[in-house]
């Protein structure tokens, strides 16, 4: 012991030390009150958990009902048959084809527009007014009701460009609707690319575009894909804009090109639901179509989750 401890042990005389004013009150601990408080907390916890479980319950009832109603209606003929006014003969092959055609427009358009916008915002734009303006604009666009996009599509694609209610008009309308989702997801994916990868590329003399193309984009790809799949699943289930565009009620012909009229799964559900008063079996057809739609969404979301988990956090 070389005297290390002792010298700083001397207590200072405390300047201005005041003895705390003795309290004139005494706070009693009321044990019954504590019991009541704990009981109240526990009851509330049950209440809160119940209302969360309520969500689970609703989901269960919804799936159960739709399952029950579509039993016996989903079969090969239903999936591959043509529309018909006779419920027993009706099939949704046309609607399935229509949904696929729609995706053929939405996928390339949103991917190019969305990813390019994200690249501009994250990689090129100065952190200034233009960037802020575009960002605010995208956030606002995301909150515009889908039916408004329908009106835009009706005016611009339907009437001005004279595309009517074709696949092209519907696809472009839908692309604009889900564009904000793809942009935001791609932005997040680009932001997550670590700076040292970019620096490594620049350090070897690569220019900006080469760096983005060869280094940044490949790394950001899983994130972009995940976001895009979620955007597409939104587009597949969306109804209102297409109704506003004026998709015909009954289409017997299968679409052959992007200029043809078409129908999609949600629209088919909509029309069948509307007519359940006259033909009760339409409710079963609607339920069966919903089941098909939910299955497609389930597959897409699973794919998104798999991609997300597989490529998560590599750095």
């Amino acid at each position: 012991m070389n005297g290390t401890g002792t010298e700083f042990m001397k207590k200072k005389t405390l300047e201005g030390a005041r003895i705390p004013k003795a309290a004139s009150y005494k706070i009693e601990i009321d044990r019954d009150r504590i019991t009541r408080r704990i009981r109240k907390s526990n009851w509330s916890q049950h209440l809160f958990s119940l209302s969360t479980v309520f969500a689970l319950l609703v989901l269960g009832i919804l799936l159960y009902r739709i399952g029950i109603q579509s039993v016996g209606w989903i079969n090969w003929n239903f999936l591959t048959g043509k529309l018909s006014i006779f419920p027993e003969k009706a099939g949704i092959y046309g609607a399935i084809l229509g949904s696929v055609w729609l995706m053929l427009i939405v996928v390339p358009v949103t991917l190019v527009l969305g990813v390019a916008t994200a690249i501009y915002l994250e990689e090129y734009a100065n952190k200034g007014r233009v960037q802020a303006f575009i960002k605010i604009n995208i956030s606002n666009l995301a909150s515009v009701p889908s039916v408004i996009f329908g009106l835009l599509g009706l005016s611009v694609f339907g009437r001005m460009l004279n595309l009517g209610s074709s696949i092209l008009a519907g696809g472009l309308t839908m692309s604009l609707l889900v564009l904000p989702i793809v942009v935001v997801a791609s932005q997040e994916a680009l932001k997550a690319v670590p700076g040292f990868l970019r620096e490594a590329s620049y350090a070897m003399g690569a220019d900006k575009w080469t760096t983005i193309r060869k280094v940044v984009l490949p790394v950001a790809l899983p994130g972009i894909l995940t976001g895009s799949i979620l955007a597409l699943s939104r587009a597949i289930g969306e109804t209102a804009p297409l109704v506003v565009l004026g998709i015909p009620t009954l289409i017997l012909k299968f679409p052959q090109s992007v200029m043809d009229d078409f129908t999609v799964l949600p629209i088919q559900i909509y029309y069948w639901t509307l007519d359940t008063v006259l033909t009760p079996e339409y409710a079963n057809l609607a339920a069966a179509t919903i089941l098909v739609l939910l299955f497609v969404l389930f597959v897409m979301n699973s794919a998104a989750i798999i991609i997300r988990n597989k490529f998560q956090k590599r750095f």
Binding site: I34, R37, S41, Q45, F48, S49, T52, A55, L59, L62, R65, V112, L113, A116, T117, Y120, E123, Y124, F133, I134, N137, S139, N140, L141, S143, V144, P145, V147, I148, G150, L151, L152, L154, S155, V156, R159, L176, L179, P180, V183, G205, D207, W209, T210, G237, T239, A240, V243, V244, L245, G246, P266, Y270, T273, T276, A287, I290, L293, L294, N301
Partner: protein, 307 residues
Amino acid sequence: MEKDIRVRQIIQKNISEKSRFADRIMPVFFFLMASVSVLTTFGIVATLTTDAVKFFQAVPLREVFSTRLSPLSATPSFGILPLINGTIFTSLIAMVVAVPMGLAAAIYLSQFATEKMRKVLKPVMEVLAGIPTIVYGFFAYSFVTPLLMRLLPGLGAKNVISPGIVMGIMIIPLVASLSEDAMNAVPNIMREGALGLGSTKLEVALKVVIPAAISGIMSSIVLAISRAIGETMIVTIASGSSKNFSFDITQSMQTMTGYIVEFTSGDAASGTTGYYSLYAVGLLLFAFTLLMNQMAHHISRKYREEY
């Protein structure tokens, strides 16, 4: 030696014009693509206003703010109040369901739930949020309405209560997840402080976490209202198209969104006042939701606590 020189020559050649050009042209391309989203907004505003202006030229303001809406009658009248009325009632019922349920779920998930419960319930919420609105519409019309009819004998096959409730359920995940984010953003040391003073979990939630997260919670509620106002398919299917101005929620009422859908899928010939009225309603709807969105951003920015 020679090899080295060759490699250098190749690099020299490749750095040259071609890639330089791409590097210069790409920013322009990206900028053009990015401007599409701005163009979309302008497109929306432009199409809505041009046709809405035509509507307001044809219809006097006194008629617009009247309670009589009958666009297809021999003496058409375009009073918007029935639609606003229907929108307010459906949204109100949705909020009565979504706000308490959503907040309760958020409190449960962020304050009480074990990690295991969270792992089950969060995905369920996400699934609920991902179900297309048309499915909820079908559910409201074919399940909830008949169910309610047994409880409320006077209920119409098309009414405001059923779509209101179902819309509320649809919005629960939105309120829950945004509010939960806000609550999770409250630093843990604050929770510990309250627990260290002998607070129960409920007291921590109500007296410390919620007050600290109030801006995020408020903004989630505003966004939920905006969502309810803009929601289309559920109300179109289940609340019907009655254009009467009434306060009877057991009967059909039409919302602004429902009006747009009904009128376009019917035959609104281009150039008629009825056609232009769609855009007037659309403009109002757009203005409402834009305002709400701005308000939500404003709230979450302005009242953010500095902890």
